[in-house]
Symmetry: C2
Subunit: 349 residues, 2 copies
């Protein structure tokens, strides 16, 4: 199934940032978000066929570097991703990423791609997939608290997949809100900029929090959250970094990707190790209930999981076929006689 691309074994197709952006525009941003949502949901439906492991994190004072591997037995993927909140001060991305697909049967890589852009897309698609199952019927308005790099992707995914028509923006930095409003101006969404988080969540059926501080923060307090909403909590995604007051968690039904990882990294790191959660894949397959009634508060405690990257990488590889949105990298030494690696070196002289 990974066949159509370059077959020369030594060559690995590489998708640069520029080519990823070309691919996204070629297909259309909302189409990509909608198709990614389907790709991720398809893999959540076969969740049990994946090797799962919490990401391998290397923490430092300034941030974290993580490797996120998974495999379905036929295809292997991993993502390299960092999280450095203070990068923004130096004009750098807080999150950058790249990823790789390989054939399990040979171990040979078959795709290398930038994943800063792709992670933003898949994170939004995962949120939309969760909201499709958990948000109240007919939700039309999303509050978007934290207007950083993820904000527009979230808004467009919720529009493309869940049919929202209004986004209410708030950020502690008004320039971030201006930026987001400007970028979404031609999107068909009604954009409302708000002076506070409290104002932003007014009338919103979906509340998305996506702020970047590496600390225990309280973007939402309990009194702010009314009955019946769906909270899409993106920013609490590493140890010591949360966004919601714990009292909100106690009133909510909490849905997670992979509990062993979320209990370390997500909002529920504030709670006891046996705090009840529902695995999102079980909602997707129908094995567990999603939203049960109109007054229930549902909370997707999203930290990002390797299977979502796997889906995104597979999707990109499929969509690359027949395009020229990649270059071939001479990344794998592949001598004619595999035992003659040294002879290959000798002959290169």
């Amino acid at each position: 199934m990974l066949s159509p691309l370059p077959s020369a074994k030594a060559m690995v197709p590489f998708v640069s940032v520029e080519n990823m952006m070309r691919l996204v525009h070629h297909l259309g941003v909302e189409t990509v978000l909608a198709e990614l949502t389907e790709a991720i949901e398809a893999d959540f439906r076969r969740w049990e066929s994946f090797d799962k492991t919490p990401r391998v994190a290397s923490h430092s004072r300034d941030g974290v570097i993580e490797l996120m591997p998974t495999s379905d037995g036929a295809v292997y993927s991993f993502k390299y991703v960092n999280g450095h909140p203070k990068n923004i001060v130096d004009g750098l991305q807080t999150v950058t990423a790249f990823g790789l697909l390989a054939e399990v049967s040979t171990g040979y890589p078959v795709l290398l791609t930038e994943m800063t852009m792709l992670t933003a897309l898949r994170t939004a698609a995962t949120s939309a997939m969760a909201a499709r199952h958990l948000a109240p019927q007919g939700a039309g308005t999303m509050a978007m608290i934290g207007n950083g790099a993820q904000a527009e992707f979230q808004a467009l995914a919720m529009k493309a997949v869940c049919g929202i028509n209004t986004v209410r923006l708030y950020d502690i930095d008004p320039r971030a809100t201006e930026k987001t409003a400007r970028n979404l101006a031609g999107s068909g969404l009604e954009i409302v900029t708000c002076p506070s988080a409290q104002a932003a969540i007014e009338g919103a059926e979906i509340i998305t929090t996506c702020t970047a501080d590496k600390q225990f923060a309280t973007i939402l307090t309990d009194n702010m959250v009314g009955a019946g909403v769906h909270i899409n909590a993106i920013g609490g995604d590493c140890p010591g970094k949360t966004e919601l007051h714990r009292d909100i968690l106690k009133r909510s039904d909490v849905f997670v990707e992979y509990p062993p990882q979320t209990r370390i990294e997500g909002e529920i790191q504030q709670m006891a190790p046996d705090f009840p959660v529902t695995e999102l894949w079980k909602v997707v397959t129908g094995a567990a209930a999603g939203r049960r009634d109109a007054r229930q508060i549902t909370l997707f405690d999203s930290v990002g999981f390797a299977i979502e990257d796997f889906s995104a990488l597979r999707y990109v590889r499929d969509r690359l076929s027949g395009t020229d949105f990649y270059q071939n990298l001479d990344m794998i030494a592949d001598p004619d006689d595999p035992r003659d690696l040294f002879g290959m070196l000798l002959r290169a002289k």
Copy 2:
């Protein structure tokens, strides 16, 4: 210390297989092996300053795909490496690899490189470093059992670092031995091809085993190994894959890289969990004894550890300066305003 290369943050220098071979010839193979040995030994000397974790392995019927991360607090590295013994049947490498260096302070990658060739070089350099501390004084002859992709690198590293002058070759497949003899013809080493493992080890002070079967094999049996030799056991490097009869281990002083990994992957997987071993880094710093007398059998149970890759990646990056043996990859999305990732996408349209 990672400064001289391209500073454009979005660009990651990439060393292809072809450029790696150009770099090696530019410097000279034996020079690279000798300098790599020094680089690895320097990092073994500060072993305690590294984050260490057993590699993250994804096992399948046909082989294994592994990620090997480490960090010294300033620089992070990881290697992707597969091990698929049956690949050779399909004309593929059993081991292919690539690796990455990143700045811990920002999480930004600063080097991506092929590591199939580089792993062969660093594995041989690590063997030579161990042999320099453990082989008998004045060792002049090495037996090389298993004449696959690693054989020539091992021979040249032992020549460059330990001063051996003779290599005695044996492989179950005579064509592998012919290939190795041919490749080493101009090296200055005396090459003796042997009809059996038993014949190969005759008179050898250093015995290197490097065979590829993924199974419990017995390349050496106890009666074959005389007093005073140094055994450099390379091929036992994943669960279920060993080369030596366990009776040899009982007679030897065993030296390892990182015990938690070697007890799973190395020759000592055959022994009890408390089988005594000495960590090689302690020999390098003088904290533990290496060879104590002329009759002792020393055994380096080598499985390869992430710090060796770290050393090799750092070495390559240093040696790239002032050369054109790399290309810049547009791998990191780096918008002018880091929060404006979506604006970057919009403007690319």
